[in-house]
Amino acid sequence: MKFLKFILIVISLFSFSTVSAEENDKRNKITKNLRCLICQGQSVYDSDSEFANSLKIVVDKKLQEGLSEDQIYEYFRIKYGEWILYDPGLNKNTYILWLLPILIFLIGGAIIYKSFIIKNK
């Protein structure tokens, strides 16, 4: 039994080494952009919960299937909704989030323009 375990460990070690560094980087990047839904405030990458661990395996599988990063995000968005992504898209729930900085920038610019440039004239 011990011998069997030893062999299993050796096999698993070798199977890990076949994962290229590049793929590992990509997996880390993707899991950092996914929210761990049962441990809010943590990314899947940071979490060690059952949910996050399974999600990491799924990301690995999808990468091996040849899916691109965006396709993987889309896959999880369909399964779990927008909330799982740390980088939400522009839609009716998030437009304030996206437009507010631009709005503030424009209004701020207008104030500066009004108070300095017009004054100098």
């Binding site: 059952e50 949910f51 399974s54 599988k61 399964k79 304030i96 709005l103 104030i111 108070s115 017009i118």
Partner: protein, 172 residues
């Protein structure tokens, strides 16, 4: 005139910001998953719990029948609490309860069923939790009401009498 524009626009900006933050206060910060949207069930391959044979999801779920997929595990304490409700649901024989054994030790799982009874028509294994992800599940216990290969409703957490009544309404 010039002097008036500045305080005016500043007040407006602060007004807008106050409004947005105030609206944000009213929103619940607790994430509530969408339980009602209909989704097609995923297609996957897995192993049967008792025989260990390979099974396809398409052979488990047939059209025109109501299924309750229950994700359970012997190490999960709330699963023990909801188990009597599943047993009761099975008594009526109106719904086919399918079990998904989540990240479990097979021996412990079998003992769990021996102690508390087996309400499941079929059980398949999800050893690494990836099938649960395919289903869009969060963890154990979780139940999905399925009709015509579509998820009608999702129940996150243990079932209770209120939810069982709701399921009975769907079945009728």
């Amino acid at each position: 005139m010039k002097n008036k524009i500045l305080p005016f626009s500043v007040t407006i900006i602060f007004g807008i910001i106050f409004f947005i933050f105030y609206k944000g206060l009213e929103d619940s910060k607790i994430y509530i998953p969408d339980n009602n949207s209909k989704k097609e069930i995923p297609v996957f391959k897995t192993k049967d719990f008792f025989s260990g044979k390979n099974v396809k999801s398409t052979s488990i779920f047939e059209l025109d029948k109501i299924y309750l997929l229950n994700i359970w595990s012997s190490w999960c304490v709330p699963c023990r609490q909801e188990h009597p409700f599943l047993m009761n649901l099975n008594l009526d024989n109106k719904v086919n309860i399918i079990g998904m054994n989540y990240k479990d030790n097979l021996k412990n799982a079998k003992n769990f069923l021996k102690d508390l009874g087996n309400p499941y028509k079929e059980i398949f294994i999800d050893l690494d939790g990836t099938i649960a992800i395919e289903w869009g599940a969060y963890g154990v216990p979780e139940s999905f009401l399925i009709y015509n290969n579509e998820i009608i409703k999702k129940y996150i957490g243990p079932l209770n009498q209120k939810l069982v009544d709701e399921i009975n309404l769907f079945i009728k």
